[in-house]
Structure formats: structure tokens, C-alpha cells
Symmetry: C2
Subunit: 333 residues, 2 copies
């Protein structure tokens, strides 16, 4: 009897597994061409009997972050962190009260900050991101993510991630994909929360970076962030970031703006006619003015202009946020 | 009856698994303090009831390559690849026959090459590694690894990897470690064979690199390697390479020379007295003149001098190749 009851437990476990795998892996996605394209692609590359089968080690999927995995309006969220840092550090810099671009930050004057141009933004980036240890910086980002809130939604920034994309990441990983972020955002900024928020560990995050150096400080091995840009992971630099960090061409890439066009070209255009391997390019199109934002060709943030034509030319799948998604953000826990 | 026979199959499978996991995971290592240190460390960090337990995601192990995973005498193996490339390309460069440092390469004159100094070596590196596509370069390394042989052993270079270290890599991965290479060698050079030889995928290889850029060539997305050094992944740069690529402090690091000291310091020295987390530093000591080479303080390649004192000070485990290992290289398949 005991053997039989044990067997039933085992069989039930099998049945449950079967049940889970046949349920909808993308419940927040409406049925339609977009969802079909994604599911069909994943089924083909994971089916050993398909001519399009891809071994697990080569199932690399790369995702842009701003506007692809979380919102990016009315300004990149990393800029909110810059403001947060500058305000927190202002006590030690009394001169900032009268010096631009710091003065505008302390006065919450976004337009004033923007008018300081690239030079001003680089000064703010250096002041908020450099001349501190790697640990101090990571702690500052964590503190920011736990306390600061979005100026319009009033939510913590890390809760403004896209529920359908979280499901897509989970679905891909359940099918033995390795999911990477390839973003113009700061690599160390993102790493402070990507594991908690997206289930993506730091070693699978690629982004822009400052220089850094190593030294022993009072006998403690220490990494210090330096005030010099090392890599701007945008546009044609994205395939380079992928080459450097992954060393293998992705089979799936997702973006939302002209800054992602090169990454999707690199991913989806096979180098020769003999190479007929299956690839999937996804572009998130911001069409939901009611629940998020609607923008593309004329937006200063996440401009999506020549990418629209290229998507049509290359056969990339457009994700229409308004029509393809049932919800935008996760329900608050 | 069918149910019973199925159950027996399942139970047999369990028994076999148990059998595999209790057999010696490091059969090429002699019993002794070194092996005990390794096995004890792995058991502690994977035991959920141990105060030293480490979640799987944080089980990062980093390995130097030259002299740690494969041999490095009488010169770094990548130099053999440089020679191979220069010779293969010589037809298209008739001027090399009369121009140093190429002339010495074509005459197999190692001393002549060495006397060309750092400048000469950089010229050879540029000629053999740059101004070609990423695919062309990877193919060249693959061709080299399949055809070129070591000047003393007569074996293919990729067969001169250390069998005991292959077992260590497998043992760590079986215990949910992520194994990385962190080497002064070229990142793209190593990536051409690390998956086949070490079971380490390209995204877990960190090394020195040249600059590179992306362009569309006749409609094909192409990465081109440029003749400019970007990163020299040695000494104090190794923790920086780890920070950039992994973004998390390893819990185990293995090296064999002074160039690995900073990596082991970064890995094993906890930043505060409150942090008592368990770490393991390993240093391969080349002591087996009969089966490999014996060298340390006075060697030009893989100099191991101040690292010997630091190993004693920090309590790193010294791997005595002669006494700790039963074999050096894998048996030829």
C-alpha cells in the first residue's frame, strides 16, 4: 500500500507539472499576432524535432531597459536618481546653492537642468555617480529605489515595470533562455535592482559605465568609481556591448526606440543566405496614453522614428501596448 | 505489475543519482589538506544548515587561465597563435620578410621577437588580432587550436589543460557555482575554445581586449576588431574586470602568479569585521618539473613571487602540482 500511495504522489506531481506547462505563460498578453509570434518562436527554437531548434546554451535574449522593461517618461528614471543624490549630498556642498547645474536640481527646475546641456548633465552624473566606492553607490541606488517616487504616478520607480514583459522574461527563462539587459542606462545603477525586479542577475546586465579603479584602503580591497565616461551603451554601441559581455549573437532582442535598432539588426539579420536560423525582433510601441504614455517619432525620450520603418523592413514584431497588453504594471503586492 | 515495474525504474534512478553524488568528485586530486580545503569549503557554502551557506546565485568562482587552467611555458600559448596568424598572413605582406618584428616571427626566432620589446609585441598583436571581423578572428583561433602543436610536448595546445582543474570546474558547477575565467589573455581568443574545453560559455569569460566597432557591411551587421588596446586584464585590473562583467564579488578565486594577487585579495578579504563570510583563495604552484614545469619567483612567464608571501598571510590554499595532483593533462580521447 505504501508503495502505491508513494506512486500516486509521484504521478500527481507529474500531472501538476503538465498542468502548469500547458497553462498560459503570458496571461497579461491579449491573444493575437504579437503573442502568437512570441509563442511560436519559443516553441520552434525549443523543439528538438524542429529545423529551427537552438541548443539551450545559445538561447540568448537581450532586452533594452528604459521604455522596454519599465517606463521612461517624463524623463529617464536614472535622472530621478541623479536628483535624489544631488539633494542628499547638498549639505556637504554649500556652493551648489548658487552654482548651475546643481542650483536648478535643488530648485526642482527640470527645464533649468536640461538647459545646462550635455556638459551640465555630465557634471551631475559625475557628482552623483563617481568618487565613491562601488558599495556606497549600490547602497545609494537601493535607498533611492525604496524611497523615491515618480512625479506623476506617485509610485516607486521600480514598481513601474511592465507586467507583460516580466511574464515574457519568466517564460523565456522557463524555456532555458538566458535573459540579458542591454541598456543605455548605467550598468551599476541597474544592477542594484535587476535581480529583485526582473530576476536578472548582475552578470547579465550590460549598460553604460564610468571608469573605475581598484585599491587597497586600510587593508580592504576597494573599487572606486571615477568621474570619466567609459562606455555609452546606445545605438551602434549596443552590439559592441553584447560582443564584449556575451560574445555570442542573441536569438531574440527587444527594444522600443531608435537606440535599439542596431541591436535588433545584429540579432535578426543573418550574415549569409546559407544561415536561415530563426530570430525574433520585438519593438515595444508606446500607444497607451490612458495607462502609460503614447509617443514615438517626436518624443525627446525614447524617440522611435527610423526604427518604425526598419521594423517593417526587417519583419520585427511590434508590441502595441494598448492592444496587446491587458495591464501595464504589476498589481501592487 | 506495470505500476510496480515503473516504480522500480524510478527508485533505481534515485539510487544511481545517490551513487554518483557520493563518489569522489575530484579523482585526480590526492587526498590531503588541499583537497580537504576545497571539499570542506564547497560543503559548507552549499549546506543550508551551515552558517556559511551561500545562495546559488552568489556562488561565483573566478579562474585565471594561463598557468591555472592550462600550461603557459615556454611562452603564453596566445603567442603561438600570434605566430600562426603572422605566418598565415605573410603571403599578403611580402614586406614582412625584411621588416621586424615580423621577420623574426617568420624565421621562428623567438629571441628576436622578444627583443622587439613591448612595441614589437603590440605590432604583432595588432597585425594578428585586428582589422578583421569578429567571425574571421574566431575562425582563425579555431583553426589554430585544431592544427598547431606545442613546441615541446607536440600536443595540441587545448589538450594541455589541467585534468584536476577540469574536475574542479565540474564539481563546482554540480554544486550550482557559476564558473568564470578572468585572465590577462585575450577575451575573444579564449572564447573560441572555452566552452568546448572547460565547459565555460563565452559570457563567462573575462579577459584583455582590443577596441571594436559595429557597422553594416553590404547589409550585414558586422563587428570589426580595431588595432587599439582597450583593457589589459591583469593585476589590479582583474577586480575591475570582475566588477564590470560580473558585478558581484566571487566567493572562490584561483590563480597562479603575482598577476592574480589582486583578484584573490578582492575575493577573500572581507570588507569589515562584521562580514565573516567564508571565502576560498587557491594558488596553483608549479612544482612538477617532470610532468609539467617548475617555476615561481624567477620566471619571466607566470612570475609568482610576492604572491607566495601574500598567500601565506591571507591563508590561501597552495595547490602543489607535484604532490596534490595525480595527473596533469587529460588522457587523450
Amino acid at each position: 500500500m505504501q508503495l502505491f500511495s508513494r506512486l500516486i504522489v509521484i504521478l500527481s506531481a507529474f500531472a501538476m507539472t503538465a498542468c502548469v506547462t500547458t497553462s498560459d505563460p503570458l496571461p497579461s498578453w491579449n491573444d493575437g499576432q504579437t503573442k502568437t509570434n512570441i509563442v511560436t518562436f519559443v516553441k520552434q527554437v525549443t523543439d528538438k524535432n524542429s529545423p529551427n531548434f537552438v541548443p539551450a546554451a545559445e538561447r540568448i535574449a537581450t532586452f533594452d531597459n528604459d521604455g522596454t522593461l519599465w517606463s521612461e517618461q517624463p524623463y529617464y528614471f536614472q535622472l530621478a536618481f541623479v536628483f535624489y543624490q544631488i539633494k542628499n549630498m547638498a549639505d556637504k556642498h554649500p556652493e551648489w546653492k548658487t552654482t548651475e547645474p546643481y542650483k536648478s536640481v535643488l530648485a526642482n527646475d527640470i527645464k533649468g537642468v536640461m538647459s545646462s546641456g550635455e556638459k551640465g548633465l555630465m557634471q551631475l552624473l559625475a557628482a552623483s555617480h563617481a568618487n565613491m566606492t562601488a558599495s556606497e553607490f549600490a547602497q545609494a541606488v537601493t535607498d533611492w529605489s525604496m524611497t523615491d517616487t515618480h512625479p506623476i504616478s506617485g509610485k516607486p520607480y521600480t514598481s513601474m515595470v511592465y507586467q507583460p514583459m516580466l511574464e515574457l522574461l519568466t517564460y523565456l527563462r522557463a524555456n532555458d533562455f538566458k535573459t540579458f539587459i542591454v541598456s543605455g542606462g548605467g550598468i551599476e545603477f541597474m544592477r542594484a535592482f535587476t535581480e529583485d525586479v526582473y530576476g536578472i542577475p548582475p552578470e547579465q546586465v550590460i549598460g553604460s559605465s564610468l571608469e573605475s579603479h581598484f585599491e587597497m584602503r586600510d587593508g580592504v580591497p576597494t573599487i572606486i568609481k571615477d568621474a570619466k565616461l567609459r562606455f555609452n551603451d546606445d545605438k551602434e554601441a549596443k552590439p559592441i556591448g553584447i560582443y564584449r559581455h556575451i560574445g555570442r549573437r542573441p536569438i531574440l532582442a527587444a527594444g522600443n526606440s531608435d537606440g535599439d535598432v542596431a541591436m535588433l539588426q545584429y540579432t535578426t539579420i543573418n550574415p549569409s543566405k546559407e544561415d536561415t536560423s530563426l530570430r525574433l525582433g520585438l519593438m515595444v510601441h508606446h500607444t497607451d496614453e490612458k495607462h502609460e504614455w503614447a509617443y514615438d517619432r517626436d518624443s525627446k525620450i525614447g524617440k522611435f522614428d527610423k526604427g518604425i520603418e526598419e521594423a517593417a523592413k526587417q519583419g520585427w514584431t511590434m508590441i502595441d501596448m494598448k492592444n496587446d497588453w491587458k495591464v501595464i504594471y504589476p498589481t501592487v503586492k
